[in-house]
């Protein structure tokens, strides 16, 4: 598995990669910043500071579980993947489908009775759980929606934000 191929896949899958900086860790070029939520309609796209996270976390596998960095930490995964090599795909999007519940995905999952990993998270879930989960655990970093991605106008309308401060329903109860 060449690191070059690695890089290409990472680059393609993450979408817009602003800067390439060679880094010692995996002898591969990793992005310093990644623009996430590119096709968001309710929330605006935003830049994810990859470099800062690398600095603070040191361990790639903290996020990129079993794809790069230290391999297989989770004892549950280690039952089978003790000796598995890093996968070709590093980016979240490469594995975690953006449409985990589309009819096609579901039909495929349902048809494959022997499939083991039936419960693979979708991209959105994986990202949010990874970020918010870690921020909560570490007691640092944003956990609120708009702390990462500000809303678009459509998003404001969607959440009926203009009604903020109006009397909540339960206050009106007789």
């Amino acid at each position: 598995m060449s690191s070059y191929k690695h890089l290409i896949v990472a680059a393609l899958s993450l979408g817009a990669i602003s800067v390439f900086t060679p880094l010692a860790a995996q002898c591969a070029a990793v992005p310093d910043s990644v623009t996430l939520n590119q096709n968001g309609t309710l929330y605006k796209p935003f830049a994810f500071n990859h470099a800062k996270h690398i600095q603070q976390l040191k361990e790639c596998a903290g996020c990129h579980h079993h794809t790069t960095g230290t391999l297989v930490l989770d004892p549950e995964c280690a039952r089978c993947h003790q000796n598995s090599s890093p996968t070709a795909v590093v980016s979240c999007k490469g594995c975690h489908s953006a449409k985990p519940f589309s009819p096609e995905t579901l039909a495929e999952k349902h048809a494959d009775k022997q499939r083991y990993h039936k419960d693979k998270m979708g991209l959105k879930g994986a990202m949010h759980q990874s970020c918010i989960g870690c921020h909560q655990k570490e007691g640092a970093g944003p956990v609120g929606c708009q702390e990462c991605h500000p809303r678009t106008e459509a998003g404001e309308a969607f959440n009926s934000s203009s009604r903020l401060g109006a009397k909540p329903a339960h206050a009106k109860k007789h």
Partner: protein, 302 residues
């Protein structure tokens, strides 16, 4: 011409029996749900209480604007229930617990054998093969028996409407999404994937697999797998279910099984009563006078 009288009584009895047969109709047998039924697995340990699902439901079902913004966290002060204006609500529990608050989304659980369906006297409800419990509001009379019957207190009534008040509840986005295989709007929007959409049979396996691989995170129970005969919505929790608004006292039998004692009695009354009472009448006719004894008491023996 006692015979004529007797025949008359039999005729009346007979016609009512015919009616009674239909009354009994589908009241027996147990139904495990459609094999291809879809469902949603709710992982309450993942929910962060963002209320996006409430917003998505509001827009998808074209419900009236909410009283307050979906950003308003003050709604968590009191537990809420689904209403005609909000088919789903998120409630907050266990605020003081070290693990932080636990959130739980409430909506129709789409039972395999829905109590609302079996209690509806105009048969407005349908359990579709996709698993959704939908209803035809064009025939809803507004008796609100389904609200009495629902073990989860889900259906809301549109009391404010004067000309066309009807029952309203979550339909699993049947018309706009489920019918074409798409997940309901709340599942689509959930950032945490606290909601997992899929075939109900698969979801049960997934749920148990999550419990197996994270025994510390979850209680060993999938709520909705067996409750009231099984529901399309299933729940995992790390906190005792009764602490996050679930009714742990619900039996695994569908609600209709409580009613079967009565429904079973109906054809008996319809067939035995006419003969019994016509007979008593014929007997008492010769019993000249018929005074002194207490005939009333006979009526109490069913």
């Amino acid at each position: 011409m006692k015979r004529r009288n007797f025949l008359k009584a039999c005729l009346i009895g007979g016609t009512t029996i015919a009616m009674g047969k239909t009354n009994k109709g589908w009241a027996s047998g147990s139904f495990e749900g459609y094999p291809e039924s879809m469902g949603v697995l709710v992982d309450t340990t993942r929910c962060i209480g963002c209320r996006s699902c409430e917003a998505a439901c509001n827009k998808e079902q074209k419900l009236p604007e909410p009283d307050t913004s979906f950003d308003d966290k003050s709604v968590f002060e009191e537990p809420r229930r689904p209403t005609a204006k909000a088919y789903t609500v998120v409630n907050q529990y266990e605020k003081e617990k070290p693990g932080g608050p636990v959130y739980r989304k409430v909506q129709c659980n789409h039972c395999n054998e829905p109590a609302c369906l079996t209690s509806c006297f105009v048969n407005a409800y349908t359990k579709t093969k996709e698993g959704a419990v939908i209803y035809n509001s064009k025939v809803c009379v507004g008796c609100r028996n389904c609200m009495i019957a629902c073990p989860f207190n889900v259906p809301g009534y549109d009391y404010e409407s004067v000309t066309n008040p009807v029952i309203k509840k979550c339909i699993l986005c049947y018309d706009t999404r489920l019918k074409v295989g798409k997940p309901p709007a709340c599942v689509d929007i959930c950032p945490q994937e606290a909601l997992t959409f899929g075939h109900r049979a698969d979801l049960i396996k997934i749920a148990h697999e999550r419990i197996r691989s994270n025994p510390d995170r979850y209680l060993d129970h999938v709520y909705g797998e067996k409750e009231v005969g099984g529901t399309s919505w299933l729940y995992l929790s790390g906190t005792e279910f009764d602490k996050i608004g679930f009714d742990p006292s619900l039996s695994n039998d569908p609600i209709i099984s409580n009613v079967k004692d009565f429904l079973g009695m109906v054809p008996m009354v319809l067939s035995i009563w006419p003969a019994l009472f016509s007979g008593i009448h014929l007997l008492s006719k010769h019993d000249s006078g018929g005074e002194g004894h207490d005939t009333e008491s006979k009526e109490e023996e069913p």
